[in-house]
């Protein structure tokens, strides 16, 4: 087990002037489950592949534990790519399927047996060790594939979109298994996904990337509560946070026909930046429908039972229309075409500089 450190690590593909990963600084603690997340082309997979030794690091360095691995061959980095190969061999037992790579590496028979039994215990596969793969369920086969990585006792597990080729049901099941397994093993794990729900439910910390730059790396709760910029605010959370450019005055943000109160810290930060407009953010779940607040016209209503989603328009004094999404109590959903008033609850407003996207205030 080990820490992982990216220090100013940069990867520029030949023929490109823009780095795919730009001066990445990231420290991953021993035993931590870190998820790299972001839209397609953000550099998350490239970062993982740099750690795996599959991408050249053009500048900066990468450490696993105390050892710099920037120029070390993939096989000498003591890492394991999980699910790189999970076609199981039909004539080999579960134990043989799990241990075959160790046999190739010349590990002794006793040691292989020991490690396979240990891994099987963790994976609840012990009763099946002598069986052939055809006698296993889909989930058990997945666990055998995980076992192949576990028996190698690597310092770091790497997983690149490991659930992408599973159907929805098996994906949720395997997601839970991977998370609990990682907790039991305590092996430092770097996991790449484009799915923010997967990232938020699995990671101890989540690193959000965009255009090759690390945007924010923090616990899921901190990303949700205090996104450092408008991109992270919009990317984390489902449905996405409402982000609207609004005018501000001494009372707060002007939204539709009313004011949304803002903290002094926000107003102060906006003033010192010379802004009279900010990007106001509020999450669909942080609103309440009532008699006070700003007016919204209800366009579409989706009832999901416990919850309901409302898609509506807010019209500013100058006639500009902004579309917003609101989550509401499933038993108390306004009707389509209705005009309602909304308030942001608990002061859960977020404010960003419209030019830089950076957070204003606390």
């Amino acid at each position: 087990m080990a820490t992982v450190v990216f220090s100013q690590a940069t990867r520029t593909y030949p023929g490109s002037t823009v780095p795919a990963v730009n001066a990445l600084d990231l420290e991953i603690a021993d035993g931590e489950f870190l998820v790299l997340v972001g839209p397609s082309g953000c550099g998350k997979s490239t970062s993982l592949r740099m750690l795996a030794g599959l991408e050249e690091v053009n500048s900066g360095s990468i450490f696993i534990g105390d050892r710099e691995v920037t120029d070390v061959a993939p096989k000498d980095r003591d890492i394991a790519m999980v699910f790189q190969n999970y076609a199981l061999y039909p004539h080999m037992s579960v134990a043989e399927n799990m241990g075959f790579a160790l046999k190739i590496a010349g590990v002794s028979k006793d040691e292989i047996n020991k490690r396979v039994v240990e891994a099987a215990k963790i994976l609840d596969l012990e009763p099946y060790l002598d069986r052939k793969p055809k006698n296993l369920s889909g989930g058990q086969r997945q666990r055998v594939a995980m076992g192949r990585a576990i028996v190698r006792n690597p310092q770091v597990f790497l997983m690149d979109e490991p659930l992408s080729n599973l159907d929805a049901k098996l994906r949720v099941q395997t997601r839970t298994q991977i998370a609990s397994l990682q907790q039991r093993l305590g092996v430092t794990t770097v996991y790449v996904t484009h799915d923010q729900t997967e990232a938020m439910t699995m990671g101890d910390r989540v690193a959000v990337m965009k255009d090759g730059f690390l945007q924010q790396c923090d616990t899921p709760q901190a990303l949700y509560d205090r996104p450092v910029n408008a991109f992270v605010a919009g990317f984390i959370g489902s449905p996405a946070m409402n982000l609207i450019d609004v005018r501000i005055d001494s009372e707060g943000a002007v939204l539709g026909d009313a004011h949304v109160p803002l903290g002094q810290d926000v107003l102060g930060a906006a003033r010192s930046a010379g802004l009279d407009t900010i990007t106001l953010g509020f999450r669909p779940e942080d609103t309440v429908v009532g008699t006070e607040g700003f007016a919204m016209h209800v366009n579409i209503v989706e009832s999901l039972g416990a919850d309901g989603y409302i898609y509506g328009d807010i019209t500013n004094a100058n006639g500009e229309v902004n579309q917003v999404t609101i989550r509401t109590d499933g038993r108390n959903i306004p009707r389509k075409g209705e005009n309602v008033r909304l308030q942001v609850t608990g002061g859960h407003t977020h404010a960003f500089n419209p030019a830089t996207g950076l957070r204003l205030g606390n």
């Binding site: 593909y13 599959l54 991408e55 061959a73 190969n85 061999y89 080729n165």
Partner: protein
């Protein structure tokens, strides 16, 4: 029944396959049983108007990405299966969403490794399989494709004049880069060794590996073969200015291995005062298939590289026999097609022609003629050799165009005659040393 189709379908009957049924439940009337490798997905084959298609169920983004990658590989001339289309938005009759399906055209005369040997995988066959796999990996790496899951199961093999030509079947884990780093290549080779060794161990567990073969030692050979070939093709040539012959030699060697030189980079010496000026040349090889291209230019025959080499040797020999010089190559080629190639194939009864690809059959006839002549102590001639070949060898062969309705095990039992084609004392036709 609802679904969407990506790609231009060559055969509209593909639209009428039972897309509302999970692939696993497609009936035996719809599908054809062909031998398959080890796969994590459900794969089935269908036959429409004489063409066999492979259908794989997987998640939509994966199917679409693989379709795209296969198209790029085809365009770059890498041997792989031909993508036909992606079916998405499948819904069962009961309204349940079904996975997407990727359709590829099955390669005629291609076989998965498990159908290439009789009761056990013998050392010579194993060596040729691994050779073919290493050649394929080098070709993929030259175009900037990292496979990510190179294995015998993800490859189909065609006979190629006693060797095998390998075709990529599964591109799901692959990725294109402008140029692969050493780390990416090493990792791919590492995976190839691990996967192929695992597959050999699996054969061993099923008593299908010849007792003289050590799975681990055999699997490791992929790395040596790959490294040797990669080095031969890409390592820089260092030569003095008066050593032009070295450059010619190198180009000839590359050509003989089935490669062309696309580009050369020269670097001038660091010390201009040095009389012994040395030039570093890096031949950049883009495409294999020198012999295949030469043969197609001369004869219009489109065949595998080693087959082309054998056929060209025969053509050259024929040209000498009829007393034509190298400048009459095209005339000789025309005469060779009409007087050698076509008459020999015409001697094969129509009912037996589907058994083996024409070029491979011609190669086997040449081989057979050599055996017969050696035994007889004199040349037995083309026509008697062909007649004997058809009577003793061809009739007992299974049909390789697409082995329909035969389980893998039966195929294994039916390929006993391979020993006739590849006797143990036959020198290996090795892509590496020619």
């Amino acid at each position: 029944m609802a679904f969407e189709v990506t790609a231009a379908l060559t055969d509209t009957d593909l639209l009428f396959l039972p897309w509302a049924t999970p692939l696993a439940d497609w009936s035996e009337e719809t599908t054809v049983a062909l031998p398959k490798g080890i796969s994590r997905h459900i794969v089935k084959f269908v036959r429409l108007h004489g063409i066999v298609y492979a259908i794989k169920e997987t998640q939509q983004p994966i199917a679409e990405r693989e379709y795209d990658l296969l198209q790029k590989l085809v365009r770059r001339g890498v041997p792989c299966v031909e993508p036909v289309g992606v079916i998405t938005g499948r819904v069962s009759d009961s309204g349940e969403e079904l996975p997407a399906a990727l359709m590829t055209r099955h390669l005629e005369f291609s076989l998965p490794y498990r159908a290439l040997f009789s009761s056990t995988l013998r050392p010579d066959t194993a060596e040729r399989l691994l050779d073919a796999l290493a050649v394929l990996l080098v070709r993929l790496h030259l175009v900037g494709f990292s496979w990510g899951d190179c294995s015998l199961s993800n490859t189909l093999f065609r006979r190629d004049a006693g060797s095998f030509a390998a075709y990529l079947v599964d591109a799901e884990t692959g990725d294109f880069q402008p140029r692969l780093s050493d780390g990416q290549r090493e990792y791919d080779v590492e995976l190839a060794v691990t996967n192929a060794t695992g597959e050999l161990m699996d054969l061993q567990s099923a008593d299908l590996l010849h007792e003289s073969l050590d799975a681990i030692e055999t699997g490791k050979k992929i790395r040596a073969r790959y490294n040797w070939l990669w080095n031969e093709i890409t390592s820089p040539l260092i030569m003095a200015s008066n050593e032009r012959y070295k450059l010619d030699e190198r180009i000839r060697k590359l050509n003989n291995m089935g490669y062309d030189v696309a580009e050369m980079l020269t670097t001038t010496p660091l010390h201009p005062s040095d009389n012994d000026i040395r030039i570093v040349m890096t031949p950049k090889v883009v495409d294999a298939g020198h012999h295949a291209r030469r043969l197609i230019r001369l004869t219009g025959l489109d065949v595998e590289e080693n087959q082309a080499r054998r056929l060209l040797n025969d053509l050259d020999q024929f040209r000498l026999e009829i007393g034509l010089s190298t400048s009459d190559e095209e005339l000789a080629a025309h005469k060779w097609v009409t007087e050698c190639f076509e008459p020999i194939l015409a001697m094969v009864p129509r009912s037996l022609r589907g058994k083996i690809e024409p070029a491979e059959m011609y190669h086997e006839v040449l081989q057979h003629r050599w055996f017969m002549s050696e035994k007889a102590g004199h040349d037995v001639g083309r026509l008697p050799a062909t007649e004997n070949y058809v009577r003793t060898v061809l009739v007992v062969k299974p049909d390789e165009r697409a082995i329909i309705g035969t389980a893998t095990d039966e195929v294994l039992e039916n390929t006993q005659e391979m020993r006739l084609v590849f006797p143990e004392d036959l020198p290996d036709i090795d892509v590496r040393s020619n």
